[in-house]
Structures are given as structure tokens and as C-alpha cells.
Point group: C2
Chain length 332, copies 2
């Protein structure tokens, strides 16, 4: 049974939703969970919830919050839930770590504790995004800014390996996010990266535009973390706005409300398909250990699914596979 | 009556939708239209459509297509519909120009023919985006890549003036697109731009994240054109995907179809609110003349609305106002 360490203090609704998510995970999935955080508080929370067996607690008194500078926080708060959890993975006491806390602090802490896979200069967050035909992995969505061309190439290689192994897609199509279909388009980073991607041992198909991603034009979409983060969050905000607009319109009068009632199952299926909580968390690819970064506003379902993603990554030997793939590609 | 020149050969569905859009514009709006393109073909198209009075044709035999290099095309194809149309504005024969053709060629041609407003280093495309509370202008959405901090500041000033004058918003809130709320977040460009925006004569409110834009957190959102273009097109693709998903789900069985029938007016209102065609086109701000860039896949409604946007910009003296505002700001 895979042991997943979970940052009990990470995210906007910690530790309550983390406790709920961990309990759901051990009940529904074949995993054990080690909660990392203030021991007394967590044990009280578990007792109040009649938690089942399969949940351990490891004490960590400190908390890193979103306003701390990531590198400083990780260096100074060595007894924070984030750093202690990462050490559990480093020392083999857990096989994966899940945190809905600060992305920057996760990145910094994973670099210090787990270290990079040989051949990877910068770890990256790969976010699976629902498309009409399946999923596309957008990599990077915020672990790095001001990336260099060789970093983007490594993102492409890691993303390709991840989609092949974890999503079972043979020869995933890898594209670079650009502002036009033509080769000549793009900024200096994209222009310098395209020739390198052509030489990489991946199925590189060229440019995709923002609108092609939800349409399913590629399985791996490479971009700098600033661009990926803005696009993903913009999409998230837009989906939520569309949801509000529809809700407002279909509840304007009793007849609309009645019709909407009949469509509730349909709406629920659409929402489920688009809900980030269904994906749970996003793997930080390129470090020597499984680290799943959850959304700051994660609910219990998202935490449970992030634990599932972490356990799957262990079973699918994501770290070893990426290490082998990067070594074979030897693009540095 | 304002005369709007329209690139009859710009866009994926030219010249048919352009002819339809121009006819709708002269029928519904208080404008005259000058169609620019191959004269015989356009006259035949107008005759076949029983076009009303108020539409002139100016001959331009050449066409610039999406695959031409913008600068080269604009220099070599001096008799293209794009260049001839831009010259009509330069020479005062028209007060605004509308094109759904290549954005890069529009940018290049406007720089050559109309030239920049004094104090503006780089013109920018400002796209109004629907929010839950109204509209946000995202500037730039693709006229520039690899922008410098001083360019972003000019985008902020131009965007603020535009939203105040054209959308009637007093002291528009100007924000910079970033990947976190904290000041310390962002890439090198954003970090270097924030202090300059603080000093600019605008209502700068700091960072917004991608998800805050549809939620209505600011009226002007400043970003490099690469970032703005990816975000906007990603949002467009996502909205279209959500539309397909909902359509598929609500037509799965006869009961759902029946309920959906009752909600058609509600769905239509939501779609109208999100439809880019309602906005028509996006002004290229910072050049000495009104130039409205339409979406490549513009339909007739989009062309008509782009003509409306162009005529409004003339009436609202957008060029003069931006020139005065930039001179007053004297940020160079």
C-alpha cells in the first residue's frame, strides 16, 4: 500500500478540508495517509470525524503561508508542515507528498529536499486540462518564470513521458503555445525554442494557439510558467463566470427554473468534466520524488483526488520513468 | 456622417461576410462605408445583394494573406486592400479603418501610414472582455511581443483613457496581469513595470491574476501581447468547448431536449454576452488614426459591429484624447 504524506496546513481551507479529504482517500482508495501538521490539532480533528485506520500524524508546528517569500520560508521554517512532509518523501517514510499550499514554497522545498532529476534544470508543474477529446498537459503552469529555451525543451520531454506513462497516450503530440499558426510567429523565447523542440526525441507538431488547446490539438502544450499560469487561471475564471451567467439566466422566472430542474443531471456532468477538483492536483515534474501541488482553494474532493494522483504517480514510477527518459534524450 | 473604410479582403470569410456586414452597417447605423478591394468583384457582390446607397468602393487589386511576413507584405503590396485602406484614413478620405486581416500587417501598415502618436513607442491592441460586472480592457492582446516596462506603462495609460472616454468609466482601475496577488510575484518584466505604473497618472491597483479578470477586478488589465493573446484565445476556446459540452449533454435524450427548448432564450442571452462578434473589433491604440482589427473568423455581425466601434471611436475623439493624455502624462 502506498503511503502519501499530506500537508495538513496547506490551502485556504486547511486543515478542515484536508482532514476530510484524507479520510475520504483512505476509505475509497487503496492508500495510507500521513498527515503533517500540528499534532494535537490534527488528532483532535481526526477524533471528531471518527477517522478510520490508515491515517498517521507527523508533528510539524510551523506553517508557511502565501505571503512568505518561498526560499526564505523554506530555509527558516524547517519545522513547517511543507518542509517536514517533503523530508518524509526524501527519507522514504512516504512515497508521495501532497500540498495545497504555496506553489513557490513547494518548488523551493522540493529542490532543497528532493533535488532535481539529473538532466533537468528546472522542475515544472504539468496541469492536465480537459479538452473535447481527452486531456492536454499544459507545462509549465507556474513553477518557473523567465524560462530559457532549454528549459522549455525539458518541459516538453517530461510532459511527453508523463502523458505516455500516466495517461496511456502513445506518442503524445507535443506543441508549443504560440500566438499564431505560422512558424515565424511568437516572441524571442518561442522562436529560440522551436528548433530545439524539433531535435528533441518527442512527437513535436509545432505551434498551437490558445484556442486550440481546449479543442484538443495536442496532448502536451509547452510554455513558460507565467504564460501557462495566466491562461489556466483566466480559463478558470471564465468557466466560473459562464457558470454564474447561466445560473442567473435560467433562474429568471418559474418556467426557466422548471426547465433547468430537468437539466440538472446534464449540467452536473458538464461541471464535473470541467471541475479542477476532479483532477485534484498537479505534479511537480523533474524532482526526485512525487510532489503533487493542489489548488489553494482545494475542497475535500480535490484533496482526495490529489492523494489519488500522488499514489498513481508512485505506481506508474513517474520519477524513474522521467529520469530514464531525460537520460536517454540527454538534452541539456 | 462618419465614413468608415473597410478591408473587403480581410478575414477567413472575405469578401462575402464583409459585404454583408457593410450593408448591415449602413442600414442600421448612421455611417457611410468605403469598401476597399478588387473593384469589379465588390461591385458585383453589392449588386447581387441589392446594396443600399451609402457604400462606395475603392479599388485595391492586391491581398495580404496570413502567411505573408507583415513588414515585407506591407512594403511590397502597396496596392493591397489593407495598405490602400490605411492610406484613405491617412489622407482624410475616411475617418476609420476596419480590417479582419492579419494583425501583424495591420500593425505594420498603421505604423508606416498613420504613424505613432507622439509619446507612444508601441501601439497596442486593447480587447474589451466581458466580466460579471461589465467589461475589462485587456491591453495588449497581440500587437507586441517582448514588450519593455515602459511599453506596458504606455498600454496602461492608453487603456485608461480609452475606458474612461469610450466606456464612460470614471477613474478606471488599472491592474497588471500577474501570477499571484503578492507584490513579489511575477517575471522580470512585471517586476520592473510595477514601480513605473505606480508613478503613472492612472488609478493603478496592483496585480490581478488570470481568474480575477472575468470576475471584474479591474477595468484595464495590462500585459505583454504574447500573454494577452494566449489568455484571450484560450478563453475563447474554452467558452466554445463549454458550449459544445453543454450542447452534447442537453441533447442526450428527449426529456433533456424538451427542457433545453424551454431554456433557449436564456442560453441565447448568455451566448450573446460572451460572443466576440458583439464586440466586433479591437482598436489599435497609439497610432494617428482609428484602426479597428477584427477577428480572423469574423462573421457579418462582427464586421458590422467593428464598423460601429470604428465610428464611435471617431465620435469620441479617441486619437486626440489619447494624444492629449499621453502628452499630459509625458511618460517616455
Amino acid at each position: 500500500v502506498v503511503v502519501v504524506a499530506v500537508d495538513a496546513m496547506g490551502g485556504d481551507h486547511a486543515p478542515d478540508v484536508v482532514l476530510d479529504g484524507a479520510i475520504a482517500a483512505v476509505r475509497e482508495l487503496n492508500v495510507r495517509v500521513t498527515l503533517v501538521g500540528p499534532e494535537d490539532r490534527l488528532r483532535a480533528g481526526l477524533a471528531a470525524r471518527n477517522a478510520p485506520a490508515g491515517i498517521d500524524v507527523v508533528h510539524a508546528p510551523d506553517v508557511i503561508d502565501m505571503h512568505d517569500s518561498p526560499v526564505t520560508a523554506v530555509r527558516q521554517k524547517t519545522e513547517s508542515s511543507l518542509v517536514v512532509g517533503m523530508r518524509l518523501v526524501r527519507d522514504g517514510a512516504a512515497s508521495a507528498f501532497v500540498s495545497a499550499g504555496s506553489t513557490g514554497a513547494c518548488m523551493a522545498s522540493s529542490l532543497f529536499e528532493l533535488r532535481r532529476i539529473r538532466g533537468v534544470d528546472r522542475p515544472a508543474l504539468g496541469a492536465p486540462f480537459p479538452t473535447v477529446t481527452g486531456s492536454a498537459l499544459i507545462i509549465d503552469v507556474g513553477a518557473n518564470v523567465d524560462s530559457k529555451p532549454e528549459h522549455l525543451v525539458q518541459f516538453g520531454i517530461m510532459g511527453s513521458i508523463y502523458m505516455e506513462r500516466v495517461f496511456g497516450i502513445a506518442r503524445p503530440r507535443v506543441a508549443i503555445m504560440n500566438i499564431g499558426e505560422e512558424e515565424s510567429k511568437g516572441n524571442a523565447l518561442v522562436q529560440a525554442t522551436i528548433p530545439l523542440l524539433r531535435q528533441a526525441p518527442i512527437n513535436f507538431i509545432g505551434n498551437v494557439e490558445g484556442r486550440d488547446v481546449p479543442a484538443g490539438a495536442a496532448e502536451v502544450v509547452v510554455c513558460d510558467g507565467f504564460v501557462g499560469n495566466v491562461a489556466l487561471k483566466f480559463g478558470e475564471g471564465l468557466a466560473s463566470t459562464i457558470n454564474s451567467l447561466i445560473r442567473a439566466e435560467i433562474t429568471r422566472d418559474w418556467f426557466s427554473k422548471l426547465c433547468a430542474l430537468g437539466l440538472r443531471p446534464a449540467f452536473r456532468r458538464v461541471r464535473k468534466r470541467l471541475d479542477y477538483a476532479e483532477y485534484g492536483g498537479v505534479p511537480l515534474l523533474g524532482v526526485n520524488g512525487i510532489c503533487i501541488v493542489g489548488h489553494g482553494s482545494s475542497n475535500a474532493v480535490a484533496i482526495k483526488n490529489a492523494i489519488r494522483v500522488g499514489a498513481q504517480a508512485v505506481e506508474q514510477r513517474v520519477v524513474e520513468t522521467i529520469a530514464e527518459g531525460v537520460a536517454a534524450a540527454s538534452v541539456r
